[in-house]
C-alpha cells in the first residue's frame, strides 16, 4: 500500500536521516525506533503528509501523497504527539469532532461504546480540562475503536502516559487492525508485543 523511496528529512541545517526506503503492505506493521531527536516524529509527519521531505517520495497505492491530499487523508488515521483534545469539550464531543474531521460520523451509542472500551465510560460527559494526562491520551485514542475502515493508522507514541490496562486495550486494537489487513506505523519507547503478518522496524540513529 505504501512505498517510500530514498526519503530524507532535514530540520534546520541538520539532516536527520536520508536514503530511507520501505514498503508497507496489508497487515504490515512498521515500528520506528530510535533515541530522542533521531527523527521518529519527523518521519511520521512526512508519511502522514504534514510536512514535505527534503528528498525522496512517499507513494500511497502508487501515487504520491502530495498530489492525493484529501483522497489520502480519508484513508489515514493520524494520532500525533499532541492529543488534539479541546479542554472545553467533553470526551464524547472531542471524539465526535475528531471523527467528523476524518470524514466519518458515529452514532452516540457507537461513541459511548468506544469510550467504554478505552476506559472513559464514567468521564464521557466531563469537560476534558478535568481529565488527567493519561485520560486525555485515551480520548485521543478512542478513535481507534471506530477506525476499522481506515486502511492506515499512524500512531506517534500511542502508549505514552497510558496505564497497563489502557495499554493492553490499545495493543489489542492495533492487533485487531493488523488482523483485518490494515497497516500500522507506530513509534514507541516501550516494548510491546504485537502480532503482525509482516513486521519490521526502522532504527533511526541519533
Amino acid at each position: 500500500m505504501m512505498e517510500v523511496r530514498d526519503l530524507a528529512c532535514e530540520r534546520g541545517d541538520v539532516r536527520l536521516f536520508s536514503g530511507l526506503e520501505f514498503s508497507l503492505g496489508e497487515g504490515g506493521l512498521l515500528l520506528v525506533q530510535g533515541p530522542n531527536g533521531s527523527g521518529k516524529t519527523s518521519l511520521l509527519r512526512l508519511v502522514a503528509g504534514l510536512s514535505r521531505p527534503a528528498a525522496g517520495t512517499v507513494r500511497w497505492r502508487g501515487e504520491e501523497i502530495a498530489g492525493l491530499r484529501e483522497a489520502y487523508a480519508r484513508e489515514l488515521l493520524f494520532v500525533g504527539h499532541a492529543n488534539a483534545v479541546k479542554d472545553e469539550f467533553s470526551a464524547d464531543e472531542n471524539l465526535a469532532i475528531s471523527l467528523e474531521l476524518c470524514g466519518r460520523r458515529a452514532t452516540a451509542a457507537a461513541r459511548a461504546g468506544a469510550l467504554d472500551r478505552i476506559g472513559l465510560a464514567t468521564r464521557a460527559s466531563l469537560p476534558a480540562r478535568y481529565l488527567s494526562q493519561g485520560q486525555k491520551r485515551r480520548v485521543a485514542l478512542a478513535r481507534l475503536c471506530l477506525a476499522a475502515d481506515f486502511p492506515l493508522w499512524i500512531l506517534d507514541e500511542p502508549f505514552a502516559a497510558l496505564d497497563g490496562g489502557a495499554l493492553a486495550t490499545v495493543v489489542a486494537l492495533v492487533d485487531a487492525h493488523l488482523e483485518r489487513g490494515g497497516a500500522v506505523i507506530l513509534t514507541s519507547h516501550q516494548e510491546v508485543s504485537i502480532a503482525a503478518r509482516t513486521r519490521f522496524s526502522i532504527a533511526l540513529e541519533g
Binding site: 504534514l50 487523508a73 480519508r74 493520524f78 500525533g80 499532541a82 488534539a84 479541546k86
Partner: protein, 222 residues
C-alpha cells in the same frame, strides 16, 4: 464539502460559547474605547459628529485585532490544527469555516452594537444606517485579512505584536472607505461609492485570503 464547512462552523461556535468570556472581552473593549472619546473630548456635538465615523471604525479594528490572535493559536497549541491539515475535508473549506465562525462572534456583534454606541455621537439616523452597513461589509474583510496574519504568525514568539504590525497597515483601506462613507452620508451625499469600494475589497479578500491562509498554515507545519 458543505458537511465539512458545517462541522467547522458548528465546532468553533460551540467553542466560543464555552469561552464566553473571550467573546465578551472584545465586545466590552469595543464599547469602552468608543465611549472614552465623548468623555475625553467633551460634549461638543459638532466635534463629536465629525469624529464619530473614525472613532467607531478604529475601535472596531482594535477589537478585531484582539480576537484575531485566537483564530488558530489554541488549535495550533493542542494539535487540533494538525488534524485539520490532514483532514478528509479540503483545508480551504476548513479555513473558510473558521473565517465564518470568527466573523459571527467578532464582526457581527460589533456591527450590531455600532448603532447603539453611535447614538453617543449624536449621529443622524441615516449616518447610523450607513455606519452599520459599512461595518457589515467591512468587518468580514478584517476577519479575512486578519486570518492570513494570524496564520503567518503561528508559533512565532511575540506573535501578537507582530500580527498587529503585519495586519493593521492592511486594514487602512477598509478604515478609509468605511469611515469615509459615513462622513459622506453626514454631509448629505451618497455613501454608495465608498460602500461599493468596500464591497470590492470584500470580494477580493474572499478570493485571496483563504488561499493565502492555507499556504501559511502549511508553512507553519512544514
Amino acid at each position: 464539502m458543505l458537511g465539512g464547512l458545517q462541522t467547522i462552523v458548528a465546532r468553533d461556535l460551540r467553542l466560543s460559547m464555552r469561552r464566553r468570556g473571550d467573546v465578551l472581552n472584545h465586545l466590552v473593549f469595543f464599547v469602552i474605547v468608543v465611549t472614552l472619546f465623548p468623555l475625553g473630548v467633551g460634549a461638543e456635538p459638532n466635534l463629536l459628529r465629525a469624529m464619530a465615523p473614525g472613532i467607531v471604525w478604529v475601535a472596531a479594528l482594535l477589537a478585531a485585532m484582539l480576537s484575531l490572535q485566537r483564530m488558530f493559536a489554541s488549535d495550533y497549541a493542542d494539535g487540533s490544527l494538525e488534524q485539520m491539515l490532514i483532514s478528509a475535508h479540503p483545508l480551504g473549506v476548513i479555513v473558510v469555516g473558521k473565517f465564518i465562525a470568527h466573523w459571527l462572534v467578532s464582526g457581527l456583534p460589533v456591527t450590531l452594537l455600532a448603532p447603539l454606541v453611535g447614538v453617543q455621537f449624536d449621529l443622524s439616523q441615516q449616518a447610523l444606517a450607513v455606519l452599520t452597513v459599512s461595518l457589515l461589509v467591512g468587518t468580514p474583510v478584517l476577519s479575512l485579512i486578519g486570518g492570513v496574519g494570524a496564520a503567518l504568525t503561528l508559533g512565532v514568539r511575540g506573535g501578537g505584536v507582530l500580527l498587529a504590525l503585519l495586519v493593521l497597515p492592511l486594514f487602512v483601506p477598509v478604515l478609509i472607505f468605511g469611515a469615509g462613507g459615513v462622513s459622506e452620508a453626514q454631509a448629505g451625499m451618497s455613501a454608495a461609492p465608498h460602500l461599493s469600494l468596500l464591497g470590492a475589497f470584500l470580494a477580493m479578500s474572499c478570493v485571496v485570503a483563504p488561499w493565502a491562509t492555507c499556504a501559511a498554515l502549511r508553512i507553519a507545519y512544514d
